[in-house]
Amino acid sequence: MHIPEGMLPAGQAAAWYAPAAAFVAGGIVQVKRRLARAAEYKAMLGLMAAFVFVVSLMPVPVPGIGTVSHPCGTPLAAILLGPFAAVLVGAVALLMQALFFAHGGITTWGANILSMAVAGSFAGYGTYVLARRLGLGLGAAAGLAGFLGDLATYGVTSLQLALGLHGDQSIPVVWATAFVSFLPTQVPLAIAEGLFTAGVLVFIARQREDILKGVELAP
């Protein structure tokens, strides 16, 4: 869910930029450190950002509601690239989607980075690492990461919308209303993201194990 241009009030749109900028700066620092060791990583990162862009426009059938939707792609990117690099890649993809299709916006870029790139990446990555440590298989851990990463994105987006549009009601009431009213569509969507993330990772592990083992892409 990309919040479109103009949706959030001026003060809040500006406020979301601060934490988003901190995470993007973290991504830049981490990637620069990596580039000092391997300069060719830059091209890989550019291709990964294009991959995230295309994946986030890829139609995935949503179980239960008979329609197709688009995965966030950030939980998958975080598992493959690490969470900070995934934030950077996500920020680039979000800016391009705003300029090309008006998916998102410029003043809402900070809010969208925080919900899609930061929450999606860190929730997905954290879940994946924890699940692997608890002994879950690759597919199950990735599936859980995709599912919770997607739900985290949705949770943060609905909080941002509740803060911006709560009117005379209390924020928790509007947040809960927004969260619950979208649950019937968001839960199947999160399941689809989980299945997609697990499927892609298992495919890579089966077909090209070297990618996950060899070149520091996977944690």
Binding site: G6, G46, L99, A102, L165, F196, I204
Partner: protein
């Protein structure tokens, strides 16, 4: 996506009036208009902004289909904005059903937000369709955006069309083999498609990285924008005029 984006690129390079304006002026103007749009939060300003942007796109020969695409995505959110304000904001009740009431003043506030979204989205799209990516990258560097970020933006744009073409080819091949004939097959196909696409992207990334290292590739963002010209001064004057009119109202 590819069609829209290729068209986007064609339009951006098309040499129309909008393309000739210095990208620094366009970026600064866009940020200023978006800030005023949010700050004023006035239906008149947002509506005038939307009309002005549609007019600019028409003068810049941006196809109507592309203009429609620009407002299609935010349209769903405008409904959400109107509904949430009508339900959660205001005092004057115009209809109610049990605990749920629709407020007249909330409805009006929601319409203002809807217009704000429409006007703002169109401003962003005008910047997008009138600025070639390398001009945008040079202007962002001029505004001191970190080099790594701008380079990443350039590289992403460079590879995007190839990757999307590959994605489309693979999906069409799956479709021919009835890979998307039902939901279960669709899920399996999306898994295969995502995985295969990633493997190709990864291999290509390694090759591209090696090639860049072999030729001692320098910075991805190179070139200069030159000095602003007469068209830029006229643009700034028109923008100032537009803002002054609404600031006085």
């Amino acid at each position: 996506m590819a069609g829209a984006s290729r068209r986007h690129d064609d339009i951006a390079w098309g040499g129309g009036l909008l393309t000739r304006i210095d990208p620094r002026v366009k970026i600064a103007g866009t940020v200023l208009l978006l800030a005023v749009n949010l700050y004023l939060s006035s239906w008149a300003f947002s509506a005038a902004l939307a009309v002005a942007m549609l007019l600019l796109m028409t003068l810049g020969h941006v196809p109507y289909r592309r203009q429609l695409l620009a407002v299609a995505f935010p349209a769903g959110f405008t409904i959400f904005a109107v509904a949430s304000q009508a339900l959660f904001s205001g005092e004057e009740v115009i209809a109610s059903l049990g605990p749920v009431a629709i407020h007249w003043d909330g409805l009006l506030a929601g319409l203002v937000i809807a217009l704000r979204i429409l006007g703002g989205a169109l401003v962003v799209v005008v910047l997008g369709v009138s600025t070639p990516m390398n001009h945008l990258a040079l202007a962002l560097r001029w505004f001191r955006v970190p080099l790594l970020f701008v380079e990443l933006l350039q590289l992403t744009y460079r590879y995007l069309f190839d990757i999307y073409a590959e994605f489309t080819r693979m999906r069409e091949a799956q479709r021919v083999r009835l890979g998307w004939s039902n939901r279960r097959a669709g899920l399996e196909s999306s898994r295969l498609l995502g995985g295969a696409l990633f493997v190709r992207v990864y291999d290509r990334g390694l090759r591209a990285g090696e090639a860049m290292r072999c030729r001692g590739s320098g910075p991805v963002v190179a070139g200069s924008l030159g000095r602003p010209g007469r068209i830029d001064l006229v643009s700034v004057a028109l923008l100032a005029e537009f803002l002054l009119i609404f600031m006085n109202i």
